[in-house]
């Protein structure tokens, strides 16, 4: 302070002009700074307006919209999760339905195939063998093919006709590609009569309890094993 006072005293005559100049320069700088600030503020305002966020007057909006974003994300995740469960359940249900349909198909085929197997004709032994072979696959086909000649001979010698009929069939189980079915069937035997005028012979009915294995070959059911239920 002492030094200032002293210097003011000494400097006063020629420094007054300088001081005035400095003050003016400072004022001009302040003015231009204020103007720049005003422009900047305007610009900021228009930008916000364009974007529509209008965040300035409603400061808590940021936090609220962040919270809403979390809610939306949770909803999306929940929808995707539930959608995944829905798809999985649909696939499971379809698989169950397909296995029910497959069982129905196997049973329908089994009923027909067993009836064909029990329907022999002394006059058309070869056709019978061909029919049975067409229904067969795997071990059963091999087995039947080996007995083919013997079967034809026996059938010709028997001199009769049988009419096979399936009474009932059910699914016993399924292992890998093979479904096992139990079949109850009858074969009604009619001796072939040489003389049509003769009295109709008494038909005989034989019961069969059969267990068959059915395997799909090229999406067609075939008998892969045939045996009696003991």
């Amino acid at each position: 302070m002492v030094f200032g006072r002293r210097s003011r005293q000494t400097a006063r005559p020629d420094r007054v002009e300088d001081l005035r100049e400095q003050v003016q320069r400072a004022r001009a700088a302040a003015d231009s700074a204020a103007a720049a600030a005003r422009v900047a503020a305007d610009e900021a305002e228009t930008e916000r307006g364009d974007d529509g966020a209008s965040a300035l007057p409603e400061a808590p909006t940021g936090r609220r919209s962040a919270r809403y974003r979390v809610v939306v994300a949770a909803a999306v995740v929940a929808c995707l999760g539930a959608g995944a469960v829905a798809v999985q359940t649909t696939l499971d249900h379809r698989a169950t339905q397909q296995s029910v349909d497959a069982d129905t198909r196997v049973l329908a085929f089994t009923e027909e195939a067993v009836a064909r197997l029990l329907s022999t004709d002394t006059d058309n032994a070869e056709a019978y063998v061909e029919r049975v072979l067409a229904d067969s696959t795997g071990d059963w086909r091999t087995e039947f093919e080996q007995r083919k000649t013997a079967t034809i001979d026996t059938m010709r010698q028997a001199g009769n006709r049988t009419a096979g009929r399936t009474l009932a069939a059910g699914i016993e189980g399924r292992e890998n590609e093979t479904t096992t079915a139990l079949v109850s069937a009858t074969a009604q035997t009619t001796p072939a009569t040489a003389d049509p005028a003769a009295a109709a012979p008494e038909p005989q009915i034989q019961q069969y309890q059969i267990r068959v294995g059915v395997t799909m070959v090229d999406d067609q059911p075939k008998l892969s094993s045939v045996g009696f239920v003991q």
Partner: protein
């Protein structure tokens, strides 16, 4: 003070959103806005349709689908026509802040999230509660009824002269409906007296069982039975093979035999 900081962050976010590529960003925003407008309605509508399909187009399923799809269409229509006319923008643009108006209520914003979740949730609930429950009960029924039919056939066809009354009484515990009455009558009037008078011993051994048909509450099982009959007069036991069609019904949570018909 904190308000000022928030404002600055917000401004910075907007800057960084806009600066890389204005066109791309605004296109993405527009798409997001359309997604907000359309997706919840589409999800609700599809869930309604799926619900009808799951119910096998039962009345309640179709009703649910009509409500869901109708509601979705009404909302989309109202949102894109009425609201836009009144407020100047759709819900999507408002939610994403691409419109100036903040005319969307808190309830509506939450509903836009909740409605799809509720719709898909309802679909899954019905699928698990109805579809899967049916599937499971059918596969359970398959296993249970085969065992029960085999055991039941053995019990109904096995007795000795000394214990015939108890044997048949025990077996009748497996029966229900008309069969129970006719079996009791047959056991009391014919089978019981005959077994005692002639010293009949019957022994039935199930040798196979197969499912003819099965549903959650009814099943038909074929049981193959080897029967041995011994009578006091004839020393040689006679063997027969029999097939019985056993019908089972699911009564009060338990499977009982309601039909017992020998095939031969």
């Amino acid at each position: 003070m904190s308000t000022a900081v928030d404002v600055k962050k917000e401004d910075l976010d907007i800057d960084s959103d806009l600066s890389p590529d204005d066109d791309a960003t605004s296109a993405a925003r527009r798409m997001a806005a359309v997604a907000v407008d359309v997706l919840p309605a589409v999800v609700v509508g599809v869930a309604g349709l799926a619900l009808a399909a799951v119910s096998n187009f039962a009345v309640w399923g179709i009703a649910a689908a009509v409500v869901a799809i109708g509601g979705a269409i009404l909302y989309v229509g109202w949102n894109s026509v009425v609201r836009r006319r009144r407020a100047g923008s759709t819900a999507g643009r408002t939610v994403l802040g691409s419109a100036l108006d903040r005319t969307i209520s808190r309830a509506e914003r939450l509903a836009l999230c909740a409605a799809p979740v509720v719709a898909v949730g309802a679909l899954v609930a019905v699928q698990v509660g109805v579809q899967r429950a049916d599937d499971v009960s059918i596969s359970d029924a398959r296993a249970t009824t085969v065992q029960l039919a085999s055991d039941g056939a053995a019990a109904l066809l096995s007795y000795t002269p000394e214990t015939v009354d108890e044997d048949l009484d025990r077996a009748s515990g497996l029966l229900t409906g008309d069969l129970l009455n006719s079996y009791r009558q047959l056991a009391g009037d014919v089978v019981g007296p005959t077994a005692k008078d002639k010293g009949v011993t019957m022994q039935a051994v199930p040798v196979g069982a197969s499912v003819e048909s099965v549903a959650p509450d009814t099943a038909r099982v074929l049981v193959y039975v080897n029967q041995t009959t011994t009578m006091a007069e004839t020393p040689e036991p006679s063997q027969t093979q029999n097939v019985v069609r056993v019908t089972l019904s699911h009564v009060d949570g338990a499977w009982l035999i309601s039909g017992f018909d020998p095939l031969f």
